[in-house]
Amino acid sequence: MAFVARVKPRAIGLRGRWPSQVQAPRRMYSQHPAHHTTPEHPLRVAVIGSGPAGFYTTYKLMAKIQGTKVDMYESLPVPFGLVRFGVAPDHPEVKNCQEKFEEVASSPDFNFIGNVSVGTKSDHPDGLTLPLASLFRHYNAIIFAYGAAQDRKLGIPGEDQLKGVYSAREFVGWYNGLPEHANLNPDLTQGDEAVVIGQGNVALDVARMLLEDVDVLRKTDIAAHALETLSQSRVKRVHVVGRRGPMQAAFTIKEVRELMKLSDVSFHPVDTSLLPTDLKSLPRAPRRLMEMLAKGTTATSQSPSETSKSWSLDFCLTPKAFSPSSSSPESTQLASTTFERTTLSPSPFDPNAYALPTGETLTLPSSIAFRSIGYKSTPLPEFSDINIPFDERRGIISNDGHGRVQHEERTRGAEMSHGSFPGLYCAGWVKTGPTGVIASTMENAFATADAIIEDWVSRTPFLNVDRKVHGWEGVRSEVLRSGDEKRVVDWQGWRRIDEAERQRGKERGSSREKFTRTGEMLNVLG
């Protein structure tokens, strides 16, 4: 069971007005000019989250400041965040970035502290929970890289009541073997038509999973339960619906091309009035994307009547309600989704156009629907105790754009004061918001690392610079109870789980068969 916080924020002087005064308790950090890393006083960093942002930040830091010690905390027993639980199973090449992460983790200066949730109660019964405050006394810097664990909701009738309405984030977690959603068990047998609301790459991933030949997926590391459910799917027709048009859509061309190439799956023509007439005059990326959508409408060798499955991009529709069958209004099973048509202002060809309602509605039959309108980060519960500001509107930790956690408050003279928290940084989606691909997350993580390096060499205040800190050693001796220790999964532990998963995969003829329960993962370790 998770243990309770023994270290209260108050106990280490983190309560109240510390950040606004920029005068923290002296024993936590100071302007002491001792920032040169020495073998006795290396830079000690805690990274919260083991996804690509955490790893790329660590990689850059360890490469640029020799001797930097990094402890990476992960609430699950297994690392890699969305590389493991977000990237689609039929995109194994995207997961090759794990090789770099493994290289980072092989350093003696790196510690993986798996199965330990920081700041929020572990979401599985086998996990340990540490208060965020317990890290403050044992590190020079803390990097928040815990990503975006929630998703945005539509807030329309039927969303929470009807069977058949799912969150794309949960569906993705389910087919990727995320323990949190291992029990989702979506029902794909109620009808032929599916609706995906949202037009980003997650929406296209969901569509592809619904349309792809199950035998192709069998060779991937898709969760076994998902393979089983998808093989019984009745879904034949997928609508990927957006409020705006093709020029405003968030999906990228690779994901569209993949769908266009699926065998025995055809694409319904897009509404060409939404495509600019003079494609040649567009910038390169939108031009190529629009050309592909236009070509899809005229040159598809397979027409929807000739293939067993089909999909479409349905533009200018904003969802209004999920409804059960009109013949059985008491039913709790989704039967249709109602949309209101929109018009784009100032023009359908303006990439920043917004959608205006027209009053005209359209109802699409749908036995299953997925909302896929974006992920969302949330603050850790302790943030309010220690005055770390969270930008609720953008769903990010307030930061200076380089990853330095910032505060903004009125001083006594009613002027706005801006400043950075010494030693607190953020990286990844909790810094930027939930968009972008591995390449952008990497660049962005490098930027956070550069900010830390710049601060460290310019002797900007950090946490605890006037005394020796011991990182995980210190945290462990302070907060772990006897018996907790053996539930912490280190890198060697992960390697054993990894090996066991690969072995299971071999039996099925795939690269890996993931454990989908934390208990199973921990059982490998005895």
Partner: protein, 185 residues
């Protein structure tokens, strides 16, 4: 190869070499006055440096040193505008070459054309035109690259050939400013 270019490349190699030595703690491995085999120089330097390194356990970029007389030259201009001219073998791709020589080029997807982290900018239009055209997959990834130009390519997809001897590519600079300004929007 025209004479001025050879001269220029030699100078660049010497300059790079001098830089390498200045960081070295080991004794110089060669004492010849003239770099007759710049290839061997370059690779010996690198391997000496690598063997001293304790930070990287896993080596990326598997390239074989070119056979004497069959060297092709490629120059990388890094993010700090420093040039690195390297002697390489035909068939090697730019990502492997850069990683084998410890240049700052990531290949997040391991060179499988599934990301844009090995984006390079070919400095000479004529050289760009000599390369086989990028395929759809490469173009799809380039569409997502930061600082895309008319002569952008993915390093993992450009293989050295005789026609590309003397190729100069630039590694796009980071996007820190872009990020900071984006943030204020």
């Amino acid at each position: 190869m025209s004479t001025p270019r050879v001269l220029r490349q030699s100078l660049q190699r010497l300059a790079q070499h001098a830089r390498c030595y200045s960081k070295q703690t080991v004794a110089p491995l060669r004492t010849q006055q003239q770099p007759r085999l710049p290839t061997a120089w370059s690779t010996t330097q690198i391997s000496a440096r690598r063997s001293l390194s304790t930070s990287s356990a896993l080596q990326h970029g598997h390239v074989d040193p070119p056979k004497p007389g069959e060297e092709l030259y490629v120059t990388f201009i890094d993010k700090d505008s420093q040039t690195h001219t390297l002697a390489v073998s035909a068939g090697d791709n730019l990502l492997d070459i850069a990683q084998a020589h410890d240049l700052e080029m990531e290949g997040a997807c391991g060179g499988s054309c599934a990301c844009s982290t090995c984006h390079v900018i070919v400095q000479d239009q004529d050289m760009y035109d000599r390369m086989p055209e990028p395929d759809d997959d490469e173009n799809d990834m380039l569409d997502l690259a930061f600082g895309l130009t008319e002569t952008s390519r993915l390093g993992c997809q450009v293989h050295m050939t005789k026609e590309l001897d003397g190729l100069v590519v630039k590694l796009p600079s980071m996007t820190r400013n872009l990020q900071a300004s984006d943030f204020k929007s």
